[in-house]
């Protein structure tokens, strides 16, 4: 009888990881948009047990990058956000702190101070956020400075102009340089999927970012009209899964923008669970970039505990 095709080939041995654009492009096959959308929609229909729901909502809080990225950000605003990040619901000690507070670079020294000893990470956007249309030297220098100022995590943007004009080498090199400038800080690479036109490009950009050294890949800046969606997150998770199989390296995922209610955040967890398994269900490997999600999640947790919805006035606006 014919020899087994599976047993004869060592399919689970990861290849050696190289920082190579060629390897990234080789794995960048097409995505069928209709089927990807269908898969994401079918997973969004799963229904969760009550305990799993509460467990999931707490996990969502722990995975949250509480974000404020506005020109009008002040120390007062950022300080309030940090307090919320450390103790999302002071009346409920079961509620964990969020994953990180995400701000513009100049706020980092202050955020670092406000969060000291709390376990909440300080994250900064960098590299000419949100457009990325500045000189590479400035991007690298900005990264170096925010890390020096205490940022634990850096959220960079890719150069979409270079990407869409086919200059993948430039995109790749820039990420690699920023990664180096990050030193010990974690690097999240924002693809700005809303500007990449289709899922084929999303997959390609995901792979380029991962092969260039990203620790996380992230959908959006929150500054364009189309932000994170379930199918885009699915396509990126599948790229992460393939990259893990190929190299053995675990890369995190961060959908950002547009995730404003608890129900939707749980749909993201279902997508994560079915695509990556429980291994990825940790703040180390999944984050939500959100500003208004937290209060709805808190409200849902309290509803599960008390059986009734409470007025929005019971949840602080920060």
């Amino acid at each position: 009888m014919s020899e087994s095709l599976v047993a004869s080939t060592p399919i689970f041995t990861p290849a050696v990881f190289r920082r190579s654009l060629g390897d990234a492009l080789e794995m960048a096959h097409g995505i069928d948009a209709v089927a990807a959308d269908e898969r994401a929609a079918s997973l969004a229909k799963r229904s969760l047990k009550k305990e799993s729901k509460v467990w999931g909502l707490k996990l969502v809080i722990g995975m949250m990058d509480l974000t404020t990225l506005e020109g009008k950000d002040t120390r007062g605003k950022v300080w309030a956000l940090c307090q919320k990040a450390i103790r999302p619901d002071p009346s409920d000690h079961d509620i964990p702190h969020v994953g990180a507070v995400c701000v513009y670079p100049t706020m980092i020294p202050f955020v670092k101070q406000a969060l000291a000893g709390s376990g909440v990470h300080a994250a900064s956007v960098a590299t000419g956020f949100p457009s990325g249309q500045t000189f590479t030297s400035i991007k690298v220098e900005e990264t170096r400075q925010v890390v020096a100022a205490g940022a634990d995590e850096v959220d960079m943007v890719i150069d979409r102009g270079a990407f869409l004009s086919g200059d993948y080498q430039k995109v790749f090199d820039e990420i690699a340089e920023v990664k180096e400038a990050c030193g010990p800080a974690h690097l999240k690479v924002i693809l700005e999927t809303g500007e990449l036109a289709n899922y084929d490009q999303v997959r390609k950009a995901s792979l380029i970012a991962m092969f260039a050294g990203a620790d996380f890949i992230k959908t959006s800046t929150g500054k364009v009209s189309v932000n994170a969606t379930l199918p885009v997150t699915l396509v990126m998770l599948e790229a992460i899964r393939d990259f893990h199989h190929a190299t053995g390296k675990k890369i995190g995922m961060k959908p950002a923008g547009g995730i404003s209610n608890a129900k939707l955040s749980l749909a993201y967890l279902v997508l994560l669970y079915e695509t990556m398994g429980t291994e990825w269900m940790t703040p180390d490997l999944f984050r939500f970039g959100a500003s208004s999600l937290l209060n709805d999640v808190l409200m849902q947790i309290r509803k599960e505990k008390t059986g009734a919805y409470q007025s929005g006035d019971y949840f602080t606006l920060d």
């Binding site: 995505i31 069928d32 990807a36 229904s47 799993s52 393939d242 079915e274 398994g277 429980t278 703040p283």
Partner: protein, 498 residues
């Protein structure tokens, strides 16, 4: 060699979950208290539910629990004869004389009533057949209504379907339908026949008669003239009586190739028109440039949709040799995430096997695969103690000559084969007595067109699988049958042209 695959729920918990509750879906059961089944269902003949002349009833069960749902009348020759007589009378006296636009109104009414009662119909379909509620709710019932809507629209436009011809109905149609999509198959058969002006004797499958009988109640409620649609339930003898009745003008059969051949022999030398929609062993062909993760979804949907009880199931997977490794790895992982269990649970992906007989047939063929030396991969998911269940399974190292590559299993069992070139894929794909459907996965448009032209299959899906629409014709090549259902083509078997 046999490998039991870990399910998603059994994966080692990650850092986040180690000290906390595990992540579980809720048993999210569709309610069953919004309707009540009768304890006994009679034959629907001449617009009334009548006790069978046979004075015999048989039990119909829920294959997921083996509980009895109701007693169903068993029609004997006398009952079938009465049904055909009623159909003949209704044809000559009423239906053929009715203005086509009036026929359309009745058919539209049936479509709307199916929509109104869709929730109960979906639950009954799932309870009687074992299919997951998400499929009966989202696919079977809406598509059944869509078929009636679609053909209602054709009723007064037949001369546009057959330009420059005189279009007349055929007469009395005997329609025998299978157990895998009970209500949907009834809709496929009834809708075009009614639109073209024929009257009908419908014979539902022995194991899944309930939704057809509920459709009988809907037809009654819609006020269809008595005798236009008659529904006779029973086993193979009833089916043979329906197909063999001398006053039937047209037979439409969907089911096994074996029975199809028997009907073909029995109708030889008669004037009866015949269409057969029979078995399949469809190739699902994945090229190296395919969108892999979506192809995996297509493979899963192709073979595990409705527990593989699908005549057009993509049961032979052909993978280009350069991508065998990632495809097998992804397939293994994906099978572990399939949720097998209570079909009424909205989270269930794979439900119960339709009957004990079918389960035994699946087991027998899977045994033959193991004996022939193929390597089996099977989900380790737990299945309920009662009822008929088979875990999602696939075989690698399958030879073209293996029984599991040749014979229709009609269950959740996939055979994986490989190819090197498009020519080889076409040759192997066509090397079967069947020819109902095929799937092609590639990013290259020109290759899709070439494959579609060369594959000897009635339906070729490109970068998708198991997609159905009332406007699209469906039917087979070779031993998968002849005649088309659906679309404008689906009218042809029900008209006589002059």
């Amino acid at each position: 060699m046999t490998t039991t695959l870990e399910t998603r729920d059994r994966l080692a918990p990650g850092a986040a979950s180690s000290s906390l509750v595990e992540w579980h879906y809720a048993p999210s059961l569709e309610a069953t208290d919004h309707f009540k089944l009768a304890s006994r269902y009679n034959l629907f003949i001449g617009g009334e539910f009548v006790a069978p002349h046979s004075k015999r009833w048989f039990e119909t069960i829920n294959p997921a629990t083996e509980d009895t749902l109701a007693e169903i009348a068993e029609a004997d020759n006398e009952d079938v004869d009465r049904a055909v007589r009623e159909a003949r009378r209704a044809y000559e006296k009423v239906w053929r004389k009715l203005a086509p636009s009036e026929r359309a109104k009745y058919i539209f009414r049936i479509a709307r009533l199916i929509q109104e009662k869709s929730r109960a119909l979906a639950v009954v379909e799932t309870m009687n057949g074992g299919k997951p509620i998400k499929e009966s709710r989202d696919i079977d019932i809406p598509l059944a209504a869509a078929h009636f809507f679609y053909y209602a629209g054709w009723a007064d436009k037949l001369e546009y379907a057959f330009p420059n011809r005189n279009v007349a109905p055929v007469g009395v149609a005997a329609q025998i339908i299978p157990w895998n999509f009970p209500l949907l198959m009834a809709a496929w058969k009834l809708a075009p026949a009614l639109a073209a002006g024929n009257t009908i004797v419908l014979k539902p499958a022995e194991t899944t008669p309930l939704t057809s009988l509920l459709l009988g109640e809907i037809i009654q409620e819609a006020g269809l003239p008595a005798g236009v649609v008659n529904i006779v339930t029973g086993g193979p003898a009833t089916g043979a009586a329906v197909a063999g009745h001398k006053d039937v003008d047209k037979i439409a059969f969907t089911g096994s190739t074996e029975v199809g051949k028997r009907i073909l022999r029995a109708t030889a030398g008669t004037k009866k028109k015949l269409t057969l929609e029979l078995g399949g062993k469809a190739p699902n062909i994945v090229f190296e440039d395919a969108p892999l993760d979506q192809a995996i979804e297509g493979i899963i949907n192709g073979i595990y949709f409705n527990q593989g009880h699908v005549c057009c199931a993509g049961s032979r997977l052909f993978v280009q040799e350069s991508i065998v490794e990632p495809i097998i790895r992804k397939l293994r992982d994906r099978i572990g995430t399939l949720r097998v269990g209570n079909p009424l649970d909205k989270n269930t992906d794979v439900g119960a096997i339709n009957s004990r007989a079918q389960l035994e047939k699946i087991q027998e063929l899977v045994e033959s695969g193991i004996e022939e030396g193929a390597e089996m991969f099977q989900s380790s998911c737990s299945v309920p103690d009662r009822g008929f269940w088979f875990r999602p399974t696939f075989f690698t190292g399958v030879a073209q000559s293996s029984r599991i590559a040749q014979e229709e299993i009609f269950g959740p069992v996939l055979s994986v084969l490989t190819f090197r070139t498009p020519e080889e894929a076409i040759e192997k794909a066509n090397n079967t007595p069947y020819g109902l459907s095929a799937g092609v996965w590639t990013e290259k448009g020109s290759r899709i067109l070439k494959m579609a032209a060369k594959l000897r299959a009635g339906v070729v899906w490109a970068n998708t699988y198991n997609k159905f629409d009332p406007s699209s014709p469906f039917g087979g090549f070779k031993e998968s049958g002849f005649g088309r259902e659906g679309g404008m083509h689906g009218l042809a078997p029900y008209v006589s042209l002059s």
